[in-house]
Chain length 478, copies 2
């Protein structure tokens, strides 16, 4: 018999957070490397997390009237160039198809970095009357951005996402849509992924290429850096004008409609890892964990044990819990380490002694705590424990966010805060891009967002001292 | 008030089947054209059909132990070249990325036409021991093939599909997998899409590039042409050797594993259209119809009608039926024509007269038949009608297949059959590719498959007269 698999070791997160992160991505079997730099494989375990996120999002999109479509992968260069700001933002990082079969193409085609131009071209063909509006479209796909430096989940040359694109008769309705989708993203982050968020507006400097407004949700990672985790854009009628989209209103007048787009990507899985993970590996929020409870028979050779374990598995599955069983010949130690590394929220052990007492032993991944649970109430106990793990992870992340968000009044104070502690520096700002750039130079921070819930934490801009217009968060971002 | 939308007209299918097909694709809002030739938009209604097919397939894949993954979009040219037959088959129709941002790439990358090479490269990294096998992977994605001529659904330069890729310790197990997946495809076609199939093996000439065996399911369209609708390939150990994949067996010996792949694409939607459609438009099999029942209030301005219609809608939804309502101000005639065009299986009308009698009127799309159904038993009646529509569509398509499959003994007989009637010519064959090519030249047919259920319909090859090895189907294929 070939020897058993070895228990994987990972770097200590307090010693080297970046290496710890890469270790978790590879050793929890989330990511595979390929021969194309910056393009990663989402392995089955990593992809299953994305599938669960997708299911939660898609349900919410459909409940709010959105429909899915599939637009082409390739965009002609001339089409990409129709909106000036947009092409300036994206052309430098496009991958270009120049040949089809053995023939050179008459016009080169970029692999979509985002699909505003394709949606707009399509809409210019199909929108005629007020009866055709609103159009509430979404697409699940991958996009390419030819980044210089890449990291698993956080920055891929190809990543999976959803891109919503909508068209409305009025600006008010389009703005409402932009905010509604931001709120859905926040709901997913907080109530599914157990990641607290700060909702806000991006500054003009940080806006999406071509947008009038970009809303964002920002999360704080365990190392106190920021992760932008979903954005929602209001375009006004800029794209519609560039693509000549018009409709006839109820009074038979020609009008120009208003547009939004919003996107959420697989980088959120990187956020999950860096928010909840620990030195034993991944810690998954139960609502997206591919396996919520792993049943492990103890002293499997003893009569009745395997049958009892399988009976537990079937009961959990019947109750709608994503459960698995490991009845392989690996040791108990290996199994414990393996499912800790993979972040499985609950490990359920059952052996001859437990069976005598009609119990099983449930071990929580988040706290390591073990509880003995009567078999009679298994399903309910597991459901409660899964909710409790979710609440616990959220509370811990919320504490991290709150403890490391600090009001600062001067650039120097921001700089010292970032160097000694790190987190979100909360200041007032005059709104001038020059001050924003100076903050980057002098304190090493970028603007994260102007929170939708504004407070008056001072009277003057943290940088220039002029009267302040906005409260703003600064940080170091992934 | 702007005038109402006009009722769309389509070409008569008996006059011009090809134009009828294109009309249905566009007028039922399934397909949109783009500025890139051969790349189509799957509009919401078309994409929703694909989503329903996906859900049915994914459920069956997971129930048989398969897991989903996401492999990269791009394949380096050197990787594609590792398996000789494979690259010869696919290189001529690849789209090539040559530039990333403003830089020329050191090696050009093709947009995946299929992903065997990527799976094999990955497996060569992660497979070590018998414990790692079998690997049962699947991917939902789009692929590119730079075809010269294209048609909606049937032949796109980009199409959506699933590609399954599996790796096994033994040849027997891999062959079993290949057959198991073929049977799942046949189940989907017959029991979900109401399309009867012929299961068989492709000839060497028609095999997938690099495969030892290709299994196929072939369907007959309304115009009696053939549609290949899902294929499953057994590769032996050819790819594994080319990519140097080995594993250690239980006796610590180095071994080479065996591989399969199998794919099912959006072309099946073209097949659905051409199998079930009629001169009023699309006819959708109920199990994939995005809307199974459309509720239409009659005399909507009368008190209580709209409320009664909405109550029906909610009851149907609560019963798990995909139902919609059209309470727009369009005329009854427009609504009837619209949902006929879109192939909605059932139209449910309710007005003041029906309400008095506690009835509603249900109109079947397949037969045009109208039945009055007591409101008390609505859900059960709708479920039974949906099943009945499915059975009726299947029976009609089965009749078409059986009536137009003909045993032939000579090339001349095949030629006459194809010219006068069309369908599947069922003959014996010696197995020689020369006869296969001669059939193409002389009778204008290609081999469809050698059915898994073989019959002895003669002793000699239809073409050369030598002793026959196989019964085979010939036809004209999309």
């Amino acid at each position: 018999m070939a020897k058993e698999k070895k228990v994987e070791q990972i770097t200590d997160m307090e010693q080297d957070f970046a290496q710890w992160y890469t270790d978790v991505c590879t050793k929890a079997d989330l990511i595979g490397y390929t021969s194309v730099k910056g393009m990663f494989i989402l392995r089955p375990y990593g992809y299953a997390i994305w599938e669960n996120i997708q299911a939660e999002m898609d349900k919410r999109f459909k409940a709010t009237g959105h429909v899915n479509v599939a637009m082409p992968l390739l965009i002609p260069e001339s089409l990409l160039q129709k909106e000036k700001d947009h092409v300036e933002g994206f052309a430098p990082e496009c991958a270009w198809v120049t040949h089809g079969g053995s023939e050179e193409l008459p016009e080169r085609l970029c692999v979509r970095p985002t699909s505003e131009t394709l949606f707009c071209e399509h809409w210019s063909h199909i929108v005629h009357s007020w009866r055709d509006l609103p159009l509430l479209y979404n697409q699940w796909c991958s996009v390419l951005r030819w980044e210089k430096t890449t990291r698993p989940f956080l920055r891929h040359r190809e990543f999976l996402w959803q891109e919503g694109h909508t068209l409305h008769a009025t600006a008010e309705e389009a703005i409402q849509e932009t905010e509604r989708m931001l709120n859905i993203y926040a709901d997913i982050c907080e109530n599914v992924l157990a990641m607290p968020v700060v909702k806000g507006l991006k500054t003009d400097k940080e806006k999406f290429a071509g947008a009038e407004r970009t809303y964002t949700i920002e999360c704080m990672m365990h190392d106190r850096k920021a992760l932008q985790n979903g954005t929602s854009h209001y375009f006004g009628d800029g794209f519609a004008k560039a693509f000549d989209i018009t409709f006839t209103d109820k009074e038979n007048q020609q009008r120009t409609p208003f547009e939004t787009s919003w996107g959420f990507t697989t980088r959120t899985i990187g956020g999950v890892i860096m928010t909840h993970g620990d030195n034993r590996g991944l810690v998954l929020p139960p609502r997206v964990a591919p396996i919520q409870a792993m049943v492990i028979p103890v002293a499997m050779h003893k009569p009745g044990v395997l049958e009892a374990a399988k009976a537990l598995l079937e009961r959990l599955k019947a109750a709608g819990i994503r459960a698995g069983i490991d009845d392989s010949d690996q040791s108990m130690g290996w199994k414990a380490a393996e499912y800790e590394m993979k972040g499985v929220p609950l490990r359920i052990e059952i052996g001859p002694k437990d069976m005598e007492k009609d119990l099983c032993c449930i071990c929580r991944r988040d706290s390591g705590e073990k509880v003995f649970v009567p078999l009679a109430g298994l399903e309910e106990a597991v459901r409660e424990l899964l909710d409790s793990v979710h609440e616990g992870l959220f509370a811990r992340a919320k504490k991290n966010l709150e403890e490391h968000t600090k009001v600062c009044q001067t650039v120097e104070e921001v700089k010292t805060f970032m160097e000694t502690e790190g987190g979100f520096a909360k200041t007032m700002w005059c709104g001038d891009v020059k001050c924003e750039e100076e903050m980057k130079e002098k304190a090493g921070v970028s603007s994260r967002c102007m929170p939708l819930v504004q407070e008056r934490v001072g009277e003057r801009c943290v940088c220039c001292g002029r009267p302040a217009k906005h409260m703003i968060y600064w940080g170091v971002a992934y």
